[in-house]
Amino acid sequence: MTEIPEHLLRRSAEARARATGAPAPGEGDAPAAAQPGDDDGVTIPRSLLEASQQPGGAPAVAGMAPYGTAQAGSAGAGGPAAAGGGVATTLPPLMAGPAGNTHRLLTVVKSGSIQDVKASPGDKVHVWPHLLAAEFTAALFITAFTLVFSLFINAPLLELANHNETPNPSKAPWYFLGLQELLTMFDPMIAGVTIPGVVLVLLGFAPYIDKNPSQRPEDRKFAISVQTIHLMFWAVLVIIGSFFRGQGFNFTYPWDTGLHGIFHL
């Protein structure tokens, strides 16, 4: 069940108590009001029915007495209140059923047939604290990680830029090393423009190319395969470009030459 605020529960309990004529829990003492089992919440309480079926006003008032005393007594005007109750019950119910019911159940109509319920309540949780606490923890974690990492490892700062002295090898930032690696294999027009251009356009339009509505991995074998090959393609090229390219951007093993001068972040 969803959480029902306490003040609403209390308000509904008071309303129910008022409807059945019994005082709300915790509101004054009504000695005769407590009749456990009398009100089952479905049919009209037997004690009320008996009261309403008394012929004439005076007995009805007497029948109501156990309930009336609590209210009228607290109001401090027993006589007029009792008389008022008598007026209301002078006539017996015209069409009382065999069991004393004054209403008949014709049919049960399910709510869905007359109400269009669009939103289902679903299984939802409050953003505070459930989501915000997790986000706050993640923010603290990433800040702490960056801080500790920065305490121990310094950002590189090489010599002043010099147009006349080309370092060997010259490398792009690591995320572009896949492209630089492609440049060793293809014409710059293809490696630098066509391949990344086509890849980025395909990536951007992926939702319009992949018409398969399913999100389940077992239904998406082709899409997942293509994307995994694509991501691995760049990952492998970036790793080769970063660690396996030395002097003159020639292939080398990092355990032979070391990373010094080969790899910068």
Binding site: H126, W128, P156, L160, A161, H163, P207, Q215, P217
Partner: protein, 266 residues
């Protein structure tokens, strides 16, 4: 003996009196018009905040967070094992980069004669200068990584499918903007690493058909990388690209909610 044990009750000792005074001061503060005007009803900083469903809703509804989060989300959406918080981490790193970047701007001039020396003196003359520069650089590399991993996560969950197609397109634009932000920042230290990495990168741009050399000229501000390039890339890095990426991030976050929250479980 019994008297000495009960004496604190009759006459509070110093720590208790300090605690009482502290409590009274806190109550006075929280009752003041100043305090209640800042913290709207339901704020956890208001007096008498209790953990009730209504107050949990007010924490979001009555604060600026309502621009980012709804009051309730699907139970599934708060599972860290599903999102790995990668999108959130990218956003936090962006905020961290903005804060550290503003700090760095106080000590940096984007000219070919001053830039490198400013970074050098930042390391040696400025309190925490080296630390903040380290954080800026590592957070930048980390953000490229988290944005990339976020893209992979979203793809493998099929979360780009209807109705979230357009938000994927925004996401790919954000990935490109992240790479551009990182790349423009790469030049600013004006050391050998920066100059030649950017030389390699911008040479690739020159191969763009038809208008390749024009694109390269506009970006470099001349035929070669020089002081003009430094100024252009500085403005791109600290002003223009952050401005653009914030707009796209706003659309990205807004669409997450409009498209019905994050995608469902597999």
């Amino acid at each position: 003996m019994a008297n000495t044990l009960e004496s604190p009750k009759s006459k509070p000792n110093l720590p208790q009196r300090m605690q009482n005074a502290q409590q009274q001061a806190a109550d006075w503060m929280q009752d003041s018009q100043f305090w209640t005007s800042i913290f709207r009803p339901g704020s956890i900083f208001r007096k008498g905040y209790t953990d009730s469903p209504r107050n949990r809703s007010y924490v979001i509804m009555n604060s600026v967070l309502y621009h980012l989060h709804p009051v309730k989300v699907k139970r599934h959406a708060v599972k860290v094992s599903y999102t790995l918080c990668l999108g959130g981490l990218s956003f936090f790193l962006f905020i961290l980069l903005t804060i550290t970047g503003i700090f760095l701007m106080f000590f940096y001039r984007p000219t070919d004669t001053a830039a490198w020396a400013d970074i050098e003196s930042l390391h040696t003359q400025v309190a925490f200068g080296l630390l903040v520069r380290n954080m800026h650089r590592w957070a930048a590399h980390l953000m490229v990584l988290t944005v990339f991993l976020h893209m992979a996560r979203v793809f493998y969950h099929g979360a780009y499918k209807a109705p979230r197609e357009f938000n994927w397109v925004i996401g790919v634009i954000l990935l490109k903007l992240t790479l551009l932000l990182s790349f423009t920042g790469y030049l600013l230290p004006w050391d050998q690493l920066a100059l030649w990495a950017v030389t390699v990168g911008t040479n690739m741009m020159g191969f763009t058909p038809v208008f390749g050399s024009q694109v390269r000229f506009v970006l470099l501000g001349s035929q070669d990388i020089g002081s003009e390039t430094l100024l252009r890339w500085y403005v791109l890095h600290v002003l223009m690209l952050p401005f653009v990426i914030v707009i796209f991030m706003a659309i990205h976050f807004w669409r997450v909610r409009k498209d019905g929250g994050i995608s469902g479980p597999l």
